[in-house]
């Protein structure tokens, strides 16, 4: 029998429940192996460990399980020094201190500090100090509790401005005021109500311009090359495609639509100047944007 197998069956062997064949093999192994004999005597309680070996054994057990208890003991040391630790904790901590040199030294240092520190509360100044204080307070007016100076509003504001976090607070309040006033800088989705509403407004004004332009041209005796209905349909197609492909905001869609309408009108009239309307805002940027991928000029 090998030592490893003997260690595994040791409990059963000690309890006397090992089968006869294995028991015989274990006894033969014990006759040959001094280490396993020592182990058996330790388990049976016939032999005690030496103190150093016992400490080593406890340390190895702690290291492989919970770790040393020094951190927990340190947390309790102050209350232990102040004698306000519960009895149970007190006994366990005392047991730990009996065996841990580092914690014992720390406890001794804490105890010494507890005795020394109160003695450092008072440091006497030189002899002339009292005379100077008495001279400085002679004839000084004394304020009653209701005469305490109240800070005026100007001082309050100055103190507020001097605070280090004032800049952060001002930036936060400014952001809170800025967002509702000017709107979020994030892009609106294409199906947002604002985008839909703006697109409809553009369609209506575009259709109205085309109708009035066609009427004006008819009055002058010229004939439009396409019907107004075809132009309206094409305008709607171009605007929708542009908005979907570029994901613009409501204002961008409006600008885009204006430039598209302008371009359509130029194509319609054969690059002849369009009569400017006073009631319709003209696009500020005359530079033509690149056409959408599926855009065909009329």
């Amino acid at each position: 029998m090998e030592c490893r197998i003997f260690e595994e069956r040791l409990d059963v062997f000690v309890a006397g429940n090992l089968p006869a064949e294995e028991r015989r093999a274990a006894e033969e192994h014990l006759g040959e192996c001094a280490r396993c004999r020592t182990l058996l005597s330790l388990v049976r309680g016939e032999e005690a460990l030496a103190p150093q070996e016992e400490e080593g054994l406890i340390l190895s057990i702690l290291n492989t399980t919970s770790g040393t208890a020094c951190a927990n003991a340190t947390l309790l040391l102050c209350d232990w020094i102040d004698a306000c630790l519960p009895q149970d904790d007190c006994e366990m901590l005392s047991l730990h201190l009996d065996h841990c040199r580092d914690c014992r030294a720390l406890a001794a240092a804490l105890q010494e500090l507890k005795e020394c520190l109160p003695g450092m509360a008072e440091i006497e100044p030189d002899e002339s100090f009292t005379d100077r204080v008495l001279a400085a307070t002679v004839g000084l007016p004394r304020r009653a509790w209701h005469d305490r100076p109240r800070p005026d509003s100007l001082q309050w504001w100055r103190r507020l401005l001097r605070r280090p976090r004032f800049a952060w607070e001002a930036a936060y309040i400014g952001a809170l005021l800025f967002l509702p006033a000017l709107g979020s800088p994030a892009r609106l989705p294409l199906d947002a109500p604002e985008v839909t509403q703006a697109s409809r407004a553009v369609m209506r004004s575009g259709g109205q311009i085309l109708q009035e332009t066609a009427a004006a041209l008819t009055e002058r005796g010229k004939t439009a090359t396409r019907s107004i209905r075809d132009l309206q349909l094409q305008t709607r197609t171009v605007l929708t495609a542009t908005a979907q492909s570029q994901g613009r905001t409501a204002s961008a869609v409006r600008r885009k639509a204006s430039s598209m309408l302008d371009r359509l009108m130029r194509n319609l009239l054969g690059n002849s100047p369009v009569k400017e309307r006073q009631d319709v805002p003209q696009p500020q940027n005359r530079q033509q944007p690149p056409p959408a991928p599926n855009h065909r000029p009329a």
Partner: protein, 193 residues
């Protein structure tokens, strides 16, 4: 009975009442009783004996002016320490060197000599205090203040919580951490010697 013990045995509420009524003798007794305490707090905060002396004098002027506002003798010491702390912090802000105070030369500071101690005992005590003072200077500002208020000045936890405007539990845990850190520093410095 020496003068230190005589000062301590006088009834504080009686002294305060007589100070409020304008008794110069009572005011002198009050100054003599608390000058060591105020000067000690100031030294620990600003780390410079000259500045601490000026600050302690300024604190006494403030106390004199506002004595009427202190109605309870039991709250006098916390009030005193609060005024001293505020004055020291104002001073340090003005000096823009709050993070690290200069090392205090304890030899320059006159300490009360206890006539009961032998010279050897006094020397041992002073060297031990120097060691503790060096260890204190190595602590963080927060831990040093906690040690000063609780362990040195003996303030209660709730008084410190009110003074520093932090929860009571935080004061207790910080105080314990500061004590452990100070003890470890003292042990390390003792080993260096």
């Amino acid at each position: 009975m020496d003068s230190v013990e005589r000062r301590r045995k006088m009834d504080l509420s009686l002294i305060l009442n007589r100070c409020k009524s304008g008794d110069a003798l009572a005011w002198e007794a009050l100054v003599r009783r608390f000058q060591g305490r105020i000067y000690g707090v100031a030294v620990h905060y600003v780390g410079n004996p000259e500045d601490a002396r000026d600050l302690a004098q300024e604190v006494f002027v403030r106390i004199y002016e506002n004595l009427e506002t202190c109605t309870d003798a039991g709250l006098f010491l916390p009030w005193l320490i609060r005024i001293t702390r505020n004055a020291c912090i104002d001073h340090l802000r003005r000096r823009k060197a709050r993070a690290h105070g200069k090392d205090v030369a304890l030899d320059q500071i006159a300490e009360p000599a206890d006539s009961r101690d032998t010279p050897e005992q006094q020397w041992t005590d002073n060297s031990r205090k120097r060691l503790i003072h060096r260890a204190l200077q190595e602590l963080t500002e927060l831990n040093r203040e906690m040690i000063l208020l609780k362990e040195i000045q003996g303030m209660q936890l709730d008084e410190i919580a009110s003074l520093l405007k932090v929860p009571l539990g935080t004061v207790k845990s910080r105080s314990n951490r500061a004590r452990i850190e100070l003890a470890q520093k003292v042990m390390a410095l003792s080993c260096e010697r």
